[in-house]
């Protein structure tokens, strides 16, 4: 990016400066991804980069500075707080409060039985109904959840994976009931099973049929809900499970490549699918490493889509992403400190050019967030957006010697992992990722990183304020949200009522259709939509899929 003779001069001056100031005596510093950080960066560190080729302008290849030409000057990121608890009524009320407070998109947290595709009256659901999110058994719950919320006015995100097809069908059915044309439905379904095997562990079906259903959703979604993100390829959970930033980036991009490869194998046109892909990253503590990660992610995906998969439409080269601040960095000790952590992480996400953001609440190391804590979290984003001046100009850290060097470094390290995974699949990313699941490659990589991090904390090499330094004796004074223990009973009663009132013959026919679709390797979405409209339960539908495809039990590796 600089003239060669200038670089030589700069290098000479740097050596003189280092010598004069005895710079080499200050010890070694590394990022959490084990990248050695120099005490200072200057133009000589990024002399190998070409501004137009490697950095460029927002909205243009390789999108290092952002996917949209105007970024936040055109439109701020979507403030999307993940929320849900109790019954559909409880969550509907919380959502209406958030929309009134200025939130611009909805994001649904489901309870564990729903996430795992179990009904609320399943013995395994005991104690978990409505606890960490809203309980959903049938379309009836969705009718209540979206009561008074017009689907043509909001976009809704659903964090759900094994039953993703069912939830997308339910949302479509609500849209049909409200008279909203399907091509107006906007939102995101997480639908990323591969990362469940690496990290998040919401596991029901084995890996291959899981990917098959994902591709079914792609195929159906492109035709039916063209404005809906049909997947959110997620690094968030990989990071929460303990990976480094580089691993988060590499494994997420690898998963993304695996899905695109599977779709192309099905005969889907990559340019038709690409606009409906989205990503989801974590924003952790190391400020610059996170910013560099987001920038590197965009650059890598643009190259992959254009050069590897041959996507022709520039729109297909975009990596659009949602960010959530890192839940695993929240401390139970001195909980108000978490507001500061979250603010720094949110800043990194904004400076990294995120399309939407969830900021965690300060009380989440203790319980689900209280209303006050959620409000502070949302206000954090609003203060960044409206008071700080940070969104005024696009990618303001571009050109920083350190940030550009680190962006490049992270990209290089991530490519190394991607090449390794591709080798495991003998040239196929899809097979490579499946192989890595089978051999425990991803789980081992992540567990080792988690153990290393914890060891550094234990040894005091990594400081966590209020935990291993600056600790105090304290009595907890924050109000904690308690989910009404009656929720489970009420939810089971509703499920019973729905089952008593529905047309059992229609349900049986629809479930038979679903079974036939799965057995004959047809797309399961049309049958699932029919099942949903007849008020079949999530447990019944997943039950059929389990019978056909079998279930998956993860090996217990420490």
């Amino acid at each position: 990016m600089f003239m060669q003779e200038d670089i030589e001069k700069i290098k000479r001056r740097r050596r003189e400066w280092e010598k004069r100031c005895e710079i080499n005596t200050t010890g070694e510093v590394k990022t959490p991804s084990d990248i050695k950080v120099e005490i200072i960066y200057d133009p000589s560190d990024i002399a190998h980069l070409d501004y137009l080729k490697d950095i460029g302008y927002p909205g243009e290849f390789p999108f290092t500075r952002g996917i949209y030409p105007t970024m936040y000057r055109g439109r701020l990121w979507t403030m999307r707080q993940f929320s849900g608890f109790g019954t559909a009524e409880d969550t509907n009320a919380r959502w209406k409060m958030l929309l009134k407070e200025g939130q611009t998109g909805l994001s649904t947290a489901f309870d564990f039985p729903t996430l795992m595709g179990l009904d609320s009256d399943d013995p395994l659901a005991d104690g978990e109904v409505g606890k960490v999110g809203v309980a959903v058994d049938t379309l009836k719950d969705f009718e209540i959840l979206f009561d008074g919320i017009p689907l043509d006015k909001v976009s809704t995100s659903f964090t759900i994976n094994p039953p993703a097809a069912i939830i997308l069908a339910m949302y479509t059915a609500i849209g049909d009931m409200q008279g909203v044309p399907r091509d107006q439905l906007r939102g995101t379904i997480q639908n990323d099973m591969l990362k469940e095997f690496h990290a998040q562990n919401t596991l029901v079906l084995p890996p291959e049929p899981s990917v098959k259903i994902t591709v079914d959703i792609f195929e159906w979604g492109i035709e039916n809900v063209p404005k809906f993100n049909l997947i959110s390829i997620s690094g968030y959970h990989i990071r929460e499970a303990g990976s480094t930033a580089v691993q988060e980036l590499a494994f997420t991009i690898a998963d993304g490549m695996a899905y695109v490869e599977a779709a192309i194998e099905r005969g889907i046109d990559v340019d038709k699918l690409a606009p409906q892909l989205s990503f989801f990253f974590n924003s952790h503590n190391n400020f610059f490493e996170e910013i560099a990660k987001f920038r590197a992610a965009r650059r890598m995906w643009a190259k992959i889509m254009r050069d590897e998969f041959g996507a022709k439409n520039p729109r297909s080269w975009w990596l659009k992403f949602h960010t959530q601040t890192a839940g695993c960095t929240l401390t139970a000790q001195q909980p108000l400190n978490n507001i500061v952590r979250t603010t720094i992480q949110a800043l990194a996400a904004v400076l990294g050019g995120t399309q939407s953001l969830h900021t965690n609440s300060f009380d989440e190391a203790w319980a689900l967030p209280s209303e006050e804590a959620v409000r502070v979290a949302l206000r954090t984003q609003q203060i960044i957006a409206y008071e700080s001046g940070i969104p005024d100009t696009i990618d303001p850290l571009a050109g920083s010697y350190y940030v550009e060097w680190l962006t490049d470094k992270i990209e290089k390290l991530a490519w190394r992992y991607i090449d390794e995974i591709k080798k495991m699949g003998e040239g196929s990313m899809l097979r490579g990722v499946l192989k890595g699941i089978e051999t425990g490659f991803f789980v081992r990589e992540i567990s080792n990183a988690a153990a290393k991090y914890q060891r550094e904390v234990e040894e005091g090499k990594r400081i966590i304020v209020g935990v291993n330094k600056f600790t105090i004796e304290e009595k907890l004074k924050i109000p904690i949200l308690k989910v009404d223990p009656e929720v489970q009973k009420r939810q089971i009663e509703r499920l019973k009522r729905v089952k008593a009132e529905r047309d059992d013959l229609a349900v049986k026919d629809a479930l038979d259709w679903l079974r036939n679709s799965a057995e004959n390797d047809e797309n399961v979405m049309p049958a699932i939509l029919e099942c949903v409209k007849c008020y079949a339960t999530i447990g019944e539908m997943m039950g059929v899929l389990k019978e056909v495809y079998g279930t998956y039990k993860k090996p217990a590796i420490i």
Binding site: F112, P113, L115, M116, L118, L124, A125, D126, G127, E128, K131, V132, E196, Q200, N201, T202, L203, E240, A241, G242, C328, L330, T331, A332, Q333, E364, A365, W366, A367, L368, S447, A450, A451, Q454, V457, E458, I464, V467, N468, L476, I480, K482, V483, K553, K554, P555, A556, I558
Partner: protein, 139 residues
């Protein structure tokens, strides 16, 4: 001296196993005999494993908010299957609101560890408690 045997259990439907696995690894490195159940275990399975493996310590990890339902069930089933939960050290870790501490202790839980607890503290606690319980059993 016989090594202290610890069962690390993930119970219920939540898949957050980072804490359980990191603790399991550190306990193993500290010289304990560690058995990890893997994910999504029922209280019955955990109770059965505790008895069959003849463990001194049962460590239960939950991030799902279901602790008030599932933890007492583990203790109940240990009794039902012929074990003596009072002779075992029962510890719980994860997202546990402070308001629930007292009731969990009443149910027979010996220690509760929230996020951010130094693992050294867990190791010391286990050693101390196991020694105490052994003494009581002998007496």
């Amino acid at each position: 001296m016989k090594k202290i045997r610890v069962l690390v259990a993930k119970i219920g439907l939540d898949g957050h196993d980072r804490g359980a696995k990191v603790v399991a690894r550190f306990l193993r490195d500290a010289g304990f005999e560690v058995i990890y159940t893997g994910l999504h275990r029922t209280p019955q399975e955990v109770a059965m494993a505790a008895i069959e493996e003849d463990v001194d310590v049962v460590g239960i990890s939950l991030h799902s908010g279901a602790h008030m339902t599932l933890v007492p069930k583990v203790i109940k089933y240990i009794k039902e299957y012929g074990g003596n939960p009072d002779e075992m050290v029962i510890v719980v870790g994860g997202i546990i609101p402070e308001d629930d501490f007292e009731e969990l202790m009443k149910m027979g839980v010996d220690g509760i560890f929230i996020p951010g607890t130094p693992i050294e503290e867990i190791i010391d606690f286990i050693k101390k408690k196991v020694a105490e319980k052994k003494k009581k059993t002998v007496a």
